[in-house]
């Protein structure tokens, strides 16, 4: 069933945080997603898949307008991070190390015909077309905090679906204990992969199966109501809000089910600074940075960092 799902305990309330124009943009985005799948609109199931979204979006907008007061409006405008910032301040080492350059350099990334290899400990390896994945998945919007290990943070409205839905579709064997994600490798379009040739490209990240199956682990295909920008990880990226941002791998090309924890990019580059789990924890200085405070993008005042980036109630059990 396609629709907007707002979980009660972890979600940053849309009444508090999401601007009306974001909803309106999202409508356009969803319509665009619908266009991607127009070739199969003839099937009844798919037309049912599209219509409720638009109705749902309208309902949400009208409910929001009737409920909120002026103060709330100011709150949400302050809380959500401006897209001007999140689309121009990017870590994507494949394209370079200067955050301000990435939005320009990543334009070369061709996201039109994108597929994901599903391999390793699965009943049947397969190659999935991303457009078809988008059509088949229960899309929803989630507003998550993002905490970078470099101590900056943001609040971003993502569109996508729970990772576990793709895992179910992948049909892994019971022996699979970890999920290994890989991004693309193409040094001809990604100057970082050429200029920093000594690094272990492609970028690799991983989660345990229990983490990957957790409701909060999310695969994003859009943000701020439109498809992902290349610099933000188009066409499909991971969002794991209780871990440092580098775990949320961008532009995923391969998902492999494995027995052992995969050796990730950053563990390989700097094993003393990065561990596999990388859960946000203000009490532990991590990877060269003091993690007690964070600097939200666009704000002058630092804020206290929360354990598991504020999602402790939802994810603590994973580690007990």
């Amino acid at each position: 069933m396609f629709g907007i799902k707002i979980s009660s305990d972890w979600n940053i309330s849309e009444n508090d945080t999401t601007a009306e124009e974001i909803y309106l943009n999202r409508r356009k985005f969803i319509e665009n997603v619908g266009k991607l799948g127009s070739n199969i609109l003839a099937f009844g199931a798919f037309s049912n898949f599209l219509n409720p979204i638009q109705v749902s979006a309208e309902n949400l907008i009208s409910r929001k307008i009737t409920r909120r007061n002026t103060k709330k409006l100011i709150d949400f405008q302050e809380n959500i991070t401006s897209e001007n910032l999140t689309s121009r301040y990017n870590n994507f080492y494949e394209f370079g190390t200067n955050k301000a350059d990435i939005s320009f350099l990543a334009k070369k990334l061709k996201v039109g015909q994108w597929s994901i290899k599903v391999e390793g400990l699965v009943h049947k390896p397969k190659v999935l077309d991303v457009d078809k994945i988008i059509q088949a998945m229960p899309l929803e919007q989630r507003v998550y905090r993002l905490r970078c290990v470099e101590t900056w943070s943001a609040i971003i409205p993502w569109s996508g679906f729970p990772l576990r839905e793709l895992i179910k579709l992948s049909n892994p064997l019971s022996t699979a204990r970890y999920v290994k994600f890989k991004t693309f490798i193409d040094p001809n379009i990604a100057p970082g992969q050429k200029n920093r040739f000594w690094e272990p490209w492609p970028y690799v990240e991983g989660l345990s199966m229990s983490e990957a199956m957790h409701n909060l682990a999310f695969l994003a295909i859009g943000m701020y109501g439109h498809q992902l920008n290349p610099q933000n990880g188009a066409p499909i990226r991971l969002v794991v809000p209780w871990k440092y941002g580098f775990k949320s791998i961008k532009s995923i090309e391969s998902i492999e089910f494995v027995k052992e924890p995969p050796r990730t990019f950053w563990q390989t580059v700097s094993p003393l600074d990065y561990d596999f789990w990388a859960n946000v924890d203000p009490t532990v200085p991590y990877a060269k940075w003091d993690q007690r405070f964070e600097s939200p993008l666009g704000r002058e005042k630092k804020e206290k960092t929360m354990l598991y980036n504020g999602y402790a109630a939802q994810v603590r059990k994973l580690y007990s």
């Binding site: 490798i185 040094p187 050429k194 040739f197 000594w198 272990p200 490209w201 050796r263 390989t268």
Partner: protein, 239 residues
């Protein structure tokens, strides 16, 4: 009696061989002669720095069949610290910068191969994309492995048509040249003077097929030491 005759002939042979020839035989042991001639340098599979593909004529030269090993390097630089990724005596020496490499070769009355020499030698007599052939094949070279996998000994896998081992994969190799574009115009030639990076070639055990394509060029500050970069030496042929 027979033993005495044999000893006599062996001594006679050594007596008859001019001393400089004996020296040459020792120095050129485990090297291959790369004949004079043209080859096509560059690749259209890379970026602008590999273009244009162009003809280069080179005089004949000799090049080591193997990457310099830890054991060989440490006979000259005993304080060298081995990388955990290339720890054995016969593993290629790494964690050396360009200056270490050139200094070692000089002590062997050699030099680093030029970038063109390295590429010609790596392509083999047939002018392949990888030193082992046209098609990427992990059974023929040490590449696309996990970072923990590490380097193999310098005599691993089959040599190419010139008898050279591990030109594609195993460890990157320093070459002599400073980086510049394959000069097309006077302006570009002038620009090239400003570059301050040396070239490494050939890829390593953890790099994908793209990086072990012997036409690909990668640049690096010559003072940097990495656990995946080694080298081999080359010699001029006395005319």
């Amino acid at each position: 009696m027979r033993k005495n005759i044999k000893t006599f002939f062996v001594c006679a042979i050594f007596f008859l061989i001019p001393s400089h020839l004996a020296f040459s035989m020792e120095v050129y042991k485990n090297t291959s002669l790369i004949p004079a001639g043209e080859f096509l340098m560059g690749t259209e599979e890379g970026t602008e720095i590999e273009l244009p593909v162009h003809k280069v004529y080179l005089k004949a030269f000799r090049i080591s069949q193997f990457e310099v090993s830890n054991k060989e390097f440490e006979m000259i630089q005993p304080k060298h610290v081995r990388s955990v990724s290339s720890p054995c005596d016969q593993c290629p020496v790494t964690l050396i910068n360009w200056y270490d490499a050139i200094s070692y070769c000089k002590k062997k009355n050699a030099r680093l191969p030029s970038e063109a020499e390295w590429e010609k030698a790596a392509r083999g007599p047939t002018g392949y994309r990888y030193s082992f052939g046209e098609i990427s094949d992990q059974s023929k070279s040490n590449f696309a492995n996990n970072f923990k996998f590490g380097a193999k000994t310098v005599k691993s896998f089959q040599p190419n048509g010139f008898g050279l081992y591990n030109m594609s994969g195993n460890v990157w190799e320093w070459v002599d040249d400073w980086f510049s574009f394959y000069a097309k115009t006077k302006i570009e030639k002038r620009k090239a003077v400003a570059f301050s990076e040396k070239i490494v070639r050939g890829g390593s055990w953890y790099n994908s097929a793209y990086y072990i394509n012997v036409g690909m060029r990668f640049k690096l500050n010559p003072e940097i030491k990495l656990n995946s970069i080694g080298f081999r030496c080359a010699w001029d042929i006395e005319q």
